[in-house]
Structure formats: C-alpha cells, structure tokens
C-alpha cells in the first residue's frame, strides 16, 4: 500500500519560499495595527508635551490654557505616576517618563495631555507655558568630550597582542579620524500604545514594541504594580528596526498611567515630528584610529577609540558601543589591537538600538582603516582586504579572543568577484575616469562578518506555546514579535515541518506576555534562531506524547510512528493528523506544550574583554558601482551585486527581501540620511520632508542579489539557518567606498578620500574640492 502513496510535501514547510503570513492583509488594508483597533466607548487620547530647550531648569509650568482647551480631561506630570518615574532599560535610573526640575534634551517629554480626541490633546499640549532657565548644552560628540561630559556607562576595552611592538614593527603607520552619522529608524508606523484598564490593578497594553516583556516590566514599575497585573500584546508592528526595542516603553507607560488614573482606555500616538524628536536613534560616532601595516598592506597593529553620541541617558548605549568594538575588525585579523569605546553623554535624545546595534559603525571604522591603507599604498582596497582576512595558522583570533571557526568569506568574495566582474569593471572605471572630468565613477567590493547572539548572555533564551485543538488545527505563540521581517511565517513553517501539516493549519497569534513570559527583545537578528527553536521544542514535546500514545494504542513500537505529510503513519497504517489528535484527546493526552530554548556555547566577560559572545557569524559581500557628479557632489548607484549568507534558509523569499531591504537601508544611512541639530540643540531633520530615506529611484539601477545557497550553519541552529535581520545592513558600506573611490580619482587615487558619513552630495563635493586642492598643492 505504500507504493500507492504519492510523494508529497506539506505546503509551507521550512526552506520553502512561502509568502508572508499577513501578505494578503497588508495589501488589502485589513492587517490590524494598533491604531486600527476599534476603540471602546469613552476612549481617551494622550499627547506628550515636549521640552523646547536642550538643557534647562524648569522654573515653572503653567497649564491653565491647557486645561481650558476644548476636550481636555486632564494633564499628567511626574506627580501622577503612582510607581517610579523611570523607564531606564539599563536600570540606571536615568530615564524619566516625565522630566522634573530640568530637561536634558530638546524634545524631552515633560507632561501629557489627556483629552477626548487626539486632535484636542495635541492642540492643548501646545498651549502650555513653561519658564526655563537655560543651561549650557552640548549636542556633538567632540564638543562633549571637550566639555568633559560624563560617560553614560562604563566604557569597554578590547585588547590582544602587543600594540606597541606592533606599531614599532610596522613600516607604515596611518592615523586619522572619521565621523559617522546616526540614523532615524523611520518605521512607517510611528510609536503607539493603547492601554485598557482592567479589574483591581490590572492593565492591558497594546504596544508597538519589539520587547513586550520589558514594556510589561516598565509599565509595572511606573504603575507600582507587580508584573502579573500587566499584559502587553502586539500582533504586528509597522516596522521596528530597533526603534521599538526600548523606545516604545515611554508611550506604553504614559497610556497605562492615564488608563489607571481615568479608568478609561487611553491611546497615545505622537505626530511623526514629535516621534523623531522624542525617541532615540542610531548612535553617531567619532572614530580616532591608528593603523600600522607593512608595504604589502598587511596589518601589524590597530588602535582605535570609538566615541559615541549617546544622548542624555544610558539606554542601550553600553551594549551598542560594545558591539561597535566587536565589529571593528569586520573580516580582518588584527595581530595586535587595542579598541576602546567612549559612550559620551550629550544633550540629545538618548540613542538606542538600530539594526546592527553599533556593529555597522564599528565596521565602517574598520573599513575606513582598510581604505586608508590602500590609498596610502596606491593599491586596490580589495587587495588589502583579501590580504588581511581571517584564516590561516594563528590568524583566527578576534580582538575579544573568540576564535573564528566558521569563516566562509573567502568563497563569498571569490564568487562575487566573478559574478560582478569586479576586476574588469574596475579597470574600465579607471579608464573612464582618465577621460572624463565631470562625472567620475567608483567601484568597491566590501565584506561583512557579523556576530550572532545577544552579548548579554541571559537574553539568549526563548519560549513558545503551542496548542493543538481537537480538530487538528494548531495555534502557535512565541515570544518573538512581528515587525515585517517574516518571523511569524518562519516559525509557523518550522511548526508545519515538525508536525508535517500544511501551513494553513497553523495560526500564529499576537505576541502576548500572558502567553509566553519573560521573553527577550526581538532584536539582534535572533528572532527565528531563538523562537524557531523554542517552537520546535514545544512541537517535539507534543509529538513525543502523540507517539507514545499511538504506539500504545496500535501496539507498535514508537519507532514505527512517523509524522508524514498531513498524516501519521502508525506501523503499516496511515491516519489523518486530525484523527490522531481526536483520538489522543479522547485518551486524555495533553495537546499543549510550552517550548524553551537557550543558545549553547556562549559566554562573555565584559570586565576581561574576552569570551565567546557569538554563537556563530553570518557573512556576506556586496559590490557597488557609482557615478559621482564632481560639480555638485550628486551621485547615483549604477549597480550593486550581493551574495549573502543565511545558512540554509528557512524561507529564501523572505530572506532575499531582508537582504535587499537591509542593503538599501544601510545605503541610506551612509548617503542621504542626515541628522542635523541647530545651535539651540533642536533636531531639524525631523520629518520625511527634511530627513531623506531612500526612494524606489535610489535603489541601484542594476541590483543583483543572491543568497549563498550552498551555506549551511555549522552550528545546530534551527534547520541550520542563520540570522538575517542585521548582517546585510552593512552591505551598504560598498556604496560609501565606491563614492570614495570616485572622489579619490581626482587625486589619482593616492590620497585617502576620507569622506565622513553620511556622504551627502555636500560632503562628497567638499571632499572632491579638498582632494583636488591637495593634489594641486
């Protein structure tokens, strides 16, 4: 009878190019975001009142006009907070919900107006009269250093080898500095929270958060209630990118406080401009570096200080600046190295997580050093890169003393050099540049190696909750949040694969602290690694019970029970999955399980600067060609080729989308996205009219993106896949380097071009002018 059975696969199992589980709802406008949830009768709306000073004492606040404004129900200040007026995720007690006594950045929340409509609350909030006494303020990293501003958290030092000996041995030493701009997340759905009060001290908060468990904890702290009274739910976010890892907590806290105070549902949603003013961004960095190398370009020693604009509080600046150091080596072996972070306080919004989490800034710094070596020696930067890759005897130890064991960058680079025709195109570009004086071209091929795991080891755990109902349908819940990356789809595919049922039998439900507790942020690219494993674990528990039951019921050995596509084979017999479930229920088999996973092998001592912070590395490379207009500094990305490693992909369609999207976002960070503060410390690029993320017409004119489909994670990750969220972001570095080459052409490629990021047309033109002058003079 087995021969009669057609060979079938379940629909939507792992490694399939399954569409996003909400795709049909996205396109029809029926995917529900928090602002789309129908409001209960009597819902109130909160609107934040923000500081109009960068650093000042608050002398007095006059709410009279606010209270008189139509629709106003009340005003919340720090005095209305029943618990603690603090939402510091670093537990430093430096992150008040509402400022008291003094404000430390332009845009800091001081109060919230609660009114019958959002419009009424917003108009009323603008009517406040606040007397300030200005204090000196600093917005810039270097100014903060010069003004002896404190560090928001202890710095990190990574050290290996003997840098003094290394520099003494080096035939060439170059030192320099680089500014790397920050980045606004520009999630299309802004921050939002919606709180509904319950019985006793209970509150349910719908929050656009990447970290429901932390939001729960912060709301509990602010309300002065235990965590068990607070439930945080999120079905999906309209983008996160790190911007809703800690930054959602403010809005959740305000909504919850108001909901408790007025015993009504309260929604808090800032306008885009206020969202951009009041919430943290990617850290701006200043890198001070020195690199020693031999005449071939082989690195002998590296010393660098990564100073970051952290803003007024610690937030996640500690782990962010740590991760910058962890990635300053990128793919390169530094025989002797000392890297230090300098997380500086500034009078700006507290900077936070953003895709790559400091890694991109570290990597840009590392690549800048490579570029300097290449231009100092008059060589192709790719030659310098390849010369210094990890690999070979004694050349696999990172600055944090983790051995690189899974290095595949050599193969990726080789394939990309071929598929992009790098060498021939570089030659043609150099010839083009000799002939043309207005338009200059540049090409660059840059690698990426990105460490996967939270460097805070305790975050590397996850839970899942799976229910199988008596009709055979499955409900899946896990601690990860969906922000567009396709996590819900991928984990559902894992479950489909485990049970061998078609994907449409599985419903993924909103992430809720009431279902899976004590979760980690969906961050650090870890979502599918952690939650996929936890879900698989839950499936396996249920399957074990089912196997035991089936073997007993049918009198076969457990080895003779197998889950096959939509059926279960028990000995010689096959029964539909749903029939087995019904029978198991009748026999009182538990059909629900909580799964759990913790990442093995990792450990990290920050004090010693050594350990194995990363379970594995993800790799990739991109090759970009640009045209630069040397009269205006404008540019265009002509072509980008990418090969990126996602291990054995859980879903190649979604992973490709992650790679394409991350590249364009990384390119935007390094080109047109500029954060600009005025002399008063006010962010002036605070809306899409002034803050320019890439458009469809900015994507490379030719864009060839491929996954390294031969790659298999050597560690036992979920189905041997690799994390994909952050690593491809850094593929955007090839655009900056290609622009640099085009600029360098005006000085025969012999002067390091040193364009700061973002390379706006202005910075590019000014670099061209500088290089022309240097060549002439």
């Amino acid at each position: 009878m087995n021969v009669m059975q057609p060979v079938v696969r379940v629909r939507g199992a792992v490694h399939d190019k399954e569409r996003h589980e909400s795709g049909h709802k996205h396109v029809s406008g029926t995917a529900e975001y928090i602002d789309d949830i129908p409001e209960p009768a009597g819902t109130l709306h909160g609107y934040l009142g923000l500081s109009q000073r960068a650093h000042a004492e608050i002398l007095s606040v006059d709410f009279e006009a606010v209270h008189d404004s139509p629709g106003v129900v009340g005003v919340l200040t720090a005095q209305d907070i029943p618990g603690e007026n603090d939402i510091s995720p670093a537990h430093k007690h430096d992150d008040p919900v509402f400022a008291t006594g003094k404000v430390e950045f332009h845009g800091q929340p001081i109060f919230a107006v609660i009114a019958t409509s959002r419009e009424a609350a917003r108009r009323a909030a603008a009517k406040v009269k606040i007397d300030y006494r200005d204090l000196p303020h600093v917005t810039d990293v270097l100014e903060a250093a010069a003004a002896n501003y404190p560090l928001v958290i202890d710095p990190l030092k990574l050290e290996r080898g003997d840098i003094d000996a290394g520099f003494a041995r080096a035939k060439n030493i170059v030192s320099g500095e680089m500014r790397i701009g920050g980045q606004d997340h520009f999630y299309l759905e802004g921050q939002i929270s919606f709180a509904i009060p319950g019985e006793d001290d209970e509150v349910t908060v719908f929050s656009s958060t990447q970290h429901p468990s932390e939001t729960q904890l912060m709301v509990a702290h602010v309300l002065g209630v235990p965590s068990n009274a607070v439930t945080v739910n999120v079905r999906r976010m309209g983008g996160g990118f790190g911007g809703k890892e800690t930054q959602a907590n403010l809005f959740a806290a305000v909504a919850a406080v108001a909901a408790r105070k007025y015993r009504r549902a309260v929604k808090v949603r800032p306008d885009r401009d206020d969202d951009m003013a009041a919430t943290g961004k990617r850290h701006d960095f200043h890198v001070d570096y020195k690199i020693g190398f031999d005449d071939d370009g082989r690195i002998e020693a590296v010393e660098a200080v990564f100073a970051a604009r952290c803003g007024f509080s610690a937030d996640l600046s500690g782990p962010v600046t740590d991760r910058a150091l962890f990635h300053a080596d990128n793919c390169y072996f530094y025989p002797n190295v000392r890297l230090r972070s300098r997380p500086l306080k500034t009078n700006t919004v507290s900077n936070t997580a953003f895709r790559g989490f400091g890694g991109p800034q570290g990597m840009v710094g590392g690549e800048r050093m490579i570029e300097d070596v290449a231009y100092a020696l008059g060589k192709d930067p790719l030659e310098i890169r390849k010369l210094n890759f990890y690999g070979g005897e004694g050349r696999n130890l990172t600055p944090y003393h983790q051995t690189v064991e899974d290095n595949i960058i050599g193969r990726i680079i080789e394939e990309l050099e071929t598929s992009s025709d790098y060498a021939a195109r570089r030659k043609a570009i150099i010839a083009f540049n000799r002939e043309n004086h207005v338009i200059k071209r540049g090409i660059a091929l840059t690698p990426v190696k990105f460490g996967i795991s939270f460097t805070k080891t305790e975050y590397n755990q996850a839970g899942a909750l799976i229910h199988v109902y008596t009709d055979g349908s499955i409900q899946l819940n896990h601690g990860g949040t969906e922000m567009g990356q396709g996590l819900y789809t991928k984990v559902a595919q894992v479950v489909a694969d485990e049970f061998q049922v078609d994907l449409d039998h599985i419903k993924v439900t909103a992430t809720s602290t009431g279902k899976v507790p004590n979760t980690s942020a969906t961050a650090a690219s870890s979502g599918s690694d952690l939650n996929g494993m936890a879900a698989a674990n839950a499936c396996q528990q249920i399957k074990e019970r089912l196997v035991r039951f089936a073997a007993e019921r049918y009198g076969v050995s457990q080895a003779d029970v197998a889950f096959e596509p939509n059926t279960v084979r028990i000995g010689a017999e096959r029964i539909p999955f749903a029939d087995l479930i019904k029978a198991a229920y009748a026999a009182r088999v538990q059909l629900s399980a909580a799964g759990f996973y913790k990442t093995p092998k990792i450990h990290w001592s920050r004090a010693e600067g050594r350990g194995r912070p990363f379970y594995y590395f993800a790799y990739g490379a991109s090759c970009s060609e640009v045209s630069v207009d040397t009269l205006t500094g404008e540019y265009q990305v002509e072509r980008t080729d990418i090969i990126h490693d996602v291990g054995k992909s859980l879903n190649p369609a979604l992973d490709l989308g992650q790679v394409e999207g991350a590249f364009v976002q990384g390119m935007g960070w390094l080109t047109t996205e500029e954060l600009w503060w005025d002399a008063k410390g006010r962010l002036r690029t605070h809306a899409p009219s002034t803050y320019k993320i890439p458009l469809a017409s900015d994507r490379p004119r030719v864009f060839n993106v491929h996954l390294a489909d031969w790659s298999v994670n050597r560690e036992e990750t979920i189905r041997r896949s690799k994390a994909v969220g952050e690593p491809p972001f850094m593929l955007g570095i090839s655009v900056l380097e290609a622009i640099s080459m085009a600029a360098a052409s005006v000085a025969d490629y012999r002067i390091p071009p040193r364009i700061d990021a973002p390379a706006t047309p202005e910075r590019v033109l000014m670099a061209v002018e500088r290089l022309r002058a240097a060549r002439a003079g």
Binding site: R19, V27, G29, L631, V664, A687, P688, A696, V705
Partner: protein, 493 residues
C-alpha cells in the same frame, strides 16, 4: 450676479454617497476616513504628504471627463472633495473575495514586509495601472516617488508593478467598468452653486465661478486660499493653525485652463503640475526633469503652479525656472487685474506683492526662441521628492560672434526669495561665451548672494554649487557626453 448656495459637501466614497453638513475647515480626508468612517486601511505615516502611506485615489471631472489621481489623504481637506469620487484601499478587494490584480501582484512578489506602507503603494500602483497598464521602470519609479518603504528596498515592489499586467485585465477593473455610471453620478453632483459651510470661525467656501471667487475674496480678504493644499495642509497638520475662513478653488474650471498662444503659454493658477505636464514638456522640454522631480506623484496631482508662486517660498521648485524664462504673473482683485514680471512678485522672505483681497490668477511663460539656450538644475540631498538646496535656471542668447547678447539667471535656495543673479548676468553680458566668461561670472556671485546654512546645505556648498551650475550650463552648451549623471537607465530584476 445671483449666487445660489448649498450648505453641504457632497462626494462619493467608494460605493457610497456622502453628504456632510458639518465639515471643519481643518478636517483632513485621512482623519475623516479613519475616525469618522472607520476605514482604517489608509494609514498615517507622516501627516505631511511625504510618505504616501495615506494614498487614496480621487476621481474628478475635468472638462466632463472622469480622471482618477493618487493624492495624499493626510493633507487633503474634506471640503475640497465636493463633487469627487474618493477611492480607498477598501474598495479594491471584496471581503473574502479575490484580491485585486495590483494586490495579488504585490503578494506574489513578496512586496510587503511590515505592511504599513503597503496600502499606499497599492493605491499608487493602482492609479498608475489605470493610466498605463504596461509602464516602464522609469514610469513606475516616478509613480512611486511619493511612497516611502523602509523594509523592502523597493526591488520587490518594482517586480510587483511589472507583474500586474500578467495578473489581471484592466478592462475588468470596477472603476473602468463603472466609469460611465460614476461619471453620471458626479455630473449630478455639479449644481453650479457656491458651497458655504460653517459659522464664523469655521467658515469654508467653495466659490461657484472665478468671478464669484473674486467677490468672495474681496469680501473676505483674510481668507486662506486653498488650491492643492500641499502647503496649507501642513499649516494645519504640523503647525495646528486655524486657517478659517477658507476658500477652496476646487470648482473653478476657469482656473484649470491652459492656453497656448503664438508666443507663450498661460497657466491659470489652479492648474496642477500633472495637468500642466503635457503642455510644459511639449513647449519647454528642458523643464521635464524639474517637473518630474516636484514632490511625488500625489503632490503633483494636487499641487498647483499658482500655489507654488503665491506662497512665495524661496525654495519653491518652479519660480527660478519661470523667472529665467521671463514669466509674468497676473493678479486679480475684484474685477481689476494687473500683470507684473514674476521676479517682481517676490519682495522679500515671506512677503509678496499681493494686496489684501488679491489673488494670483495666472502665470504666462513666453516661448523661447531658437537662439536661446536654457537649462534648469535642481540640487537636493535626495534626487527625487526633495526640496532644493539650490535650484539654478539659466538662459542665454548668443549673438553671431558668440557673445552673450541676452542672459537671465535665477536661483532658488540662495536668498530669502527666488532671485535673479543680476551681477552674474552683468558679468556675462557682452562677453564671449567661454571659460573666461564663466570665471568672471563666478566672481560676481558674492555680490548677488549670501546664502544661509541650514539642514539642507551649508552656505559654502550653496555658493560653490551655484557657481558650478553656471559651469555646467556652459559645458552643456559645448558638449553633452558625461557632463551629467545618466538617470534614465534602470533594470528590473
């Protein structure tokens, strides 16, 4: 003149008729859809017309013909919709029915990630599809200039746009099938009356005719005139200004006229960028790129040349080019008209030569004769949908000996108003059109301009680029190869 009044706003919303007696002058279409009608597929991303998450289609009759265009619901006032058909994403797929071809193509190509921008993209692509079922990559990119996506990197969305034609047939689209019926319904809404809504502080007027508008404005000289609301919309959504009384130009067909004469073209002040486009590119092909880069598609569908002039911005897209072309502007107050050179209209930052009760009625652009060389260059941080850091427009006429016989140069972004570079022009006039003349022109820039530093550009950059644009203009009169980035190439993957 007897004017009949109506005190309601009437329009079609998807398959429903809407009649509203109570419309606030600041009520936006987006809030109306989301809050009043619970149609929450249309999203708010920025509330300033830059991200496109709120894109809907608005159908209206122009010369009796029904035309659908994408607009930004966030900065579109409800009152301006009188006589229109508003189509939201909810109209595309029936509940539990098959997806619309545009939607299906987006799903098939994995073109949504977080999904928040997606309904806006769907509506923009739907608008494009109705106008052009098989668009080129450039046409797709142009249609999507006003839609931001932060997740996908756009590649999949472009793939979707290309795939639509293979997913469904345009002829079966409801808006095509029901076109005649909707046209009849909209015609029935046109009653030729002046619409007056609201009390003293909430007054909204839609004049019935141009003469009626002139009379209304004379009686209410402080009224806010709203044409496309791409600027006034932000006064409300960003600055929370009370703009009443408001006069909408929506019903004034006279203000949407384009007349092409023997020596020039006249655009009535209410002509949108999109409406003006065919005539502009036919007669001034040098303006094509500039026109393609004004806002995004939604803004071009709403915004007007008259509004771009009347608001007096120093960084408006069209004034530098129009000044260099020698355009003039006609203002009207009651029945009195006066015409002045466009450059004279801009007095100083925030101040134009417009009296109380007066309005911009039209702008006239004289044709270039064949001996003139003309170009305009817009320099911005991002190429599309951005505001100029510097915009320079150049016109020269050379005599038989290759000397500059006539010259007009105007800049945006270099002063408090769009401004002629009089000293540069003087340095060039009569000179041989060569590098030396350009160098002489360079030296004169400092006498014309002392630009500001702001978030768009530094003073130094603006000055340097302004000079370099003169260099470019000169170069382009000499050679054409590789003096500009070729933006026409794009390959879909």
């Amino acid at each position: 003149m007897t004017i009949e009044f109506r005190n309601t706003i009437r329009f079609l919303l998807n398959d429903r008729s809407v009649e509203l007696a109570d419309v606030s002058p600041v009520q936006t279409l987006l809030d109306f859809l989301r809050i009043d009608r619970n149609l929450r597929g249309t999203k708010e991303g920025c509330a300033e017309g830059d991200c496109g998450a709120c894109t809907v289609l608005v159908g209206r009759l122009l010369d009796g013909k029904l035309r659908y265009e994408s607009v930004n619901a966030c900065i579109r006032f409800v009152a301006s919709l009188d006589g229109c058909h508003v189509v939201t994403v909810e109209a595309l797929a029936q509940p539990n029915g098959p997806l619309h071809p545009v939607q299906q193509a987006m799903v098939d190509t994995h073109a949504s990630q977080c999904g928040f921008c997606t309904p806006g993209f769907v509506m923009s692509l739907y608008g494009l599809w109705m106008a052009n079922a098989k668009p080129s990559i450039q046409q797709i990119e142009k249609a999507l200039q006003g839609n931001l996506c932060r997740c996908t990197g756009y590649a999949a969305i472009i793939r979707a746009a290309e795939a639509i034609a293979s997913v469904g047939e345009l002829g079966k689209d409801p808006l095509i099938v029901e076109r005649e019926q909707i046209t009849r319904q909209l015609k029935a809404l046109q009653d030729g009356r002046r619409v007056e809504i609201g009390g003293e502080d909430e007054r909204v007027v839609l004049p019935a005719s141009l003469d009626d508008f002139a009379a209304v404005l004379q009686a209410n000289p402080k009224a806010t005139i709203v044409a496309g609301s791409t600027d006034v919309g932000l006064w409300v959504t960003k600055f929370m200004r009370n703009i009443a009384p408001v006069v909408h130009l929506s019903h004034l067909e006279e203000l949407r006229r384009i007349s092409v004469g023997v020596d020039g073209i006249t655009l009535a002040a209410g002509v949108s960028y999109t409406e003006a486009y065919p005539a502009i590119v036919r007669h001034f092909p040098q303006l094509r790129e500039l026109w393609d880069r004004i806002g995004g598609e939604q803004v071009r569908n709403m915004g007007t040349v008259g509004g771009n002039i009347a608001n007096g911005s120093p960084i408006g897209d069209t004034p530098p080019a129009l000044i260099a072309l020698g355009a003039s502007v006609t203002l009207r107050k009651g029945t009195n008209r006066r015409t002045l050179p466009l450059e004279a209209f801009f007095l100083e930052y925030g101040k134009q030569d417009r009296e109380s009760g007066e309005f911009v009625e039209s702008v006239r652009i004289p044709f270039l004769d064949e001996t003139h060389r003309f170009a305009v260059y817009k320099i911005s941080k991002r190429f599309d949908e951005d505001i100029s850091a510097v915009c320079g427009a150049f016109r020269v006429k050379l005599d038989g000996d290759g000397r500059v016989a006539d010259v007009a140069i105007a800049f945006g972004g270099m002063a408090g108003t769009p401004k002629r570079a009089r000293n540069v022009e003087a340095a060039l006039k009569g000179a041989q059109w060569n590098d030396a003349a350009v160098e002489a022109g360079f030296a004169a820039f400092e006498r014309d301009f002392a630009p500001l530093t702001d978030w768009r550009a530094s003073s130094e950059y603006r000055m340097l680029v302004a000079r370099n644009l003169l260099r470019r203009f000169h170069l382009e009169t000499q050679e054409t190869r590789h003096v500009r980035i070729d933006r026409t190439v794009a390959v879909a993957m």
